[in-house]
């Protein structure tokens, strides 16, 4: 469990990543289309982290970039496409051609991974659901198995809990005590934060007092390890109320990522380290 953040402590993103994300860690950067923590991901790459297990329901561009940069040894995910556009070419190149190095894969359905985070947040060893029966996903016996209901005898799918070493999310607001508020499509962020040993949040803005908002998620400062102010830290994803999704960049990424050289040129232009062994 994280130690309580001293009230009012807002740290620099570079310090938060340096302190809380280590080589070999299991790292979840969550945000379901909305509020994807791109700026934090880029800081992880700039600091040269290696051998990470990356967990995320939808790898999206953010993990395509980290995988291409050679940050990850393993990927745990449930849908690895560029939504509405097509393939994630760096993910595909890693799995199909081991570039820049081999990438091990564990895969779930959305329901499976969402429940694995929920079990992790509850500090339970596994979650129960009806899905998976008859699919080949069930062959991954180290993460998906079955259990018999003790009350009805029904056979159900069991999915192993996911407990990241560190979860990173982006949110709209922090208050001066370092409590965090997010709204709009809030995905699986609450579960991913509470499942993790440490949690880092980047926010658009710090305010004296949170506004009234229907359906908002509020995370108390004592479940967070660091809060960092990073305006537009979700670009090219978006933060409802602050920015809109840069759909043009999602389209352009297809051409950038399709080719190793154009990807590496993009990485150089954006001051992101190339893979050491690329």
């Amino acid at each position: 469990m994280p130690s309580p953040a001293p009230p009012g402590t807002i740290t620099a993103l570079s310090e938060a990543i340096a302190e809380h994300v280590h080589d070999g860690d299991t790292v979840a950067l969550e945000g379901f289309t909305h509020l994807i923590p791109f700026a934090a991901a880029h800081e992880i790459a700039r600091q040269g982290r290696r051998h990470l297990t990356l967990v995320r329901m939808t790898p999206d561009l953010v993990y395509d970039q980290l995988i291409g940069l050679g940050v990850a040894d393993r990927l745990v995910f449930s849908y690895g496409g560029n939504p509405g556009v097509g393939s994630l070419h760096r993910l595909r190149d890693a799995v199909e051609n081991s570039w820049p190095h081999p990438l091990a894969v564990q895969e779930h359905s959305h329901a499976g991974l969402a429940n694995a985070y929920s079990a992790g947040a509850a500090r339970l060893p596994f979650a129960v659901l009806r899905g998976y029966r008859g699919t080949d996903l069930e062959r991954q016996r180290d993460i998906i198995s079955s259990v018999t209901c003790p009350f009805t005898g029904e056979e159900l799918a069991a999915v192993k809990a996911v407990n990241p070493d560190v979860t990173v999310i982006h949110a709209q607001l922090a208050d001066r005590d370092g409590n965090v508020m997010l709204w709009g499509i809030t995905g699986v962020q609450r579960e991913a934060v509470l499942a993790a040993d440490r949690a880092i949040v980047t926010v658009e803005q710090v305010v004296d007092e949170f506004p009234e908002r229907t359906g908002a998620v509020i995370l108390p400062n004592w479940v967070l390890s660091a809060v960092c102010v990073v305006p537009n830290g979700a670009w090219p994803s978006y933060a409802a109320g602050y920015s809109v999704r840069d759909n043009d960049f999602y389209q352009r990424w297809d051409a950038i990522a399709r080719d190793r050289d154009s990807f590496l040129a993009w990485a150089a232009d954006n001051d992101l380290k190339e893979s050491a062994d690329a």
């Binding site: 849908y79 939504p83 509405g84 969402a114 429940n115 008859g134 699919t135 809030t186």
Partner: protein
């Protein structure tokens, strides 16, 4: 009658499968187009649910992703992803789920995961996403997929979502399974006794021979095969307006 192409016919035929008032789980791509087309034509009261958590979304333009802010902003409720899959999809509150496929077999089993072996795939596809639970729990599943011998295969390389199982008799899930497969050639439906996908309708201008030639198994053809009505001017106007991302009045 205006000109139209086979992709438009496929979108229109898929949209017609939605009934007014249906609760429809919408995924990215052709399903998104079909569901929004239905809402703008014959099924204005169908309820769109997006797996990102938006319930009763009323998008003013065709959303480009399933997580567009317009979906959350126009929804009756926005729930978390675990809640969506546990309380809404898994619990059986979805009438219709639309699915796509990279491969589909004669019993409606779907592969969206890999071409080749899972450990060393020839082609790494996006993966399962929300589809396995939609395939299991939606009351009706409508698959939208273009017909080709590479897609309509004897055996799928990986079962991502279950239709009727390896021999058509293994389905245990609560929903009815793939009740329609809408292609660019026509419509396939499971045989009532064997669950084998059978060609029951053809789009205008398509022949049985074309449908058979683009199927990687020996395609069963129903007796008295019917023709799908061509897209109407209203359907085409709405479809093209959606694709051009024109705003609706609603």
């Amino acid at each position: 009658m205006p000109e139209w192409d086979s992709a438009e016919m496929m979108n229109v035929a898929a949209a017609r499968e939605l009934h007014d008032g249906d609760v429809c789980l919408v995924g990215v791509g052709p399903p998104n187009l079909a569901a929004n087309l239905a809402r703008r034509t014959h099924a204005p009261n169908c309820r769109l649910v997006y797996e990102s958590g938006a319930i009763d979304a009323k998008p003013r333009r065709l959303p480009l992703s399933i997580g567009d802010d317009d979906l959350a902003a126009t929804a009756t409720a926005v729930v978390s992803v675990p809640e969506m899959f546990n309380f809404w999809v898994g619990a059986g509150r979805i009438d219709v789920g639309f699915l796509g496929a990279a491969q589909i077999d004669r019993f409606g089993n779907i592969n969206t995961t890999v071409i080749g072996a899972h450990a060393h795939p020839k082609v790494r596809l996006p993966g399962a996403g929300g589809a396995p639970e939609i395939a299991a729990a939606a009351r009706r599943v409508i698959v939208i997929v273009k017909q080709s011998p590479r897609t309509f295969v004897e055996t799928v390389d990986f079962v991502s979502s279950v239709g009727y199982g390896p021999t058509g008799r293994e389905r245990v899930a609560p929903g009815a399974g793939p009740t329609r497969v809408i292609t660019d050639h026509g419509v396939l439906e499971p045989d009532p006794s064997t669950n084998e996908l059978t060609l029951t309708r053809l789009h205008p201008g398509v022949t049985v021979e074309q449908a058979v030639a683009t199927t990687g198994w020996v395609l069963k053809v129903a007796e008295g095969i019917q023709e799908v009505p061509a897209p109407t001017t209203a359907e085409l106007t709405a479809l093209r307006g959606l694709r051009n991302r024109e705003a609706s009045d609603a």
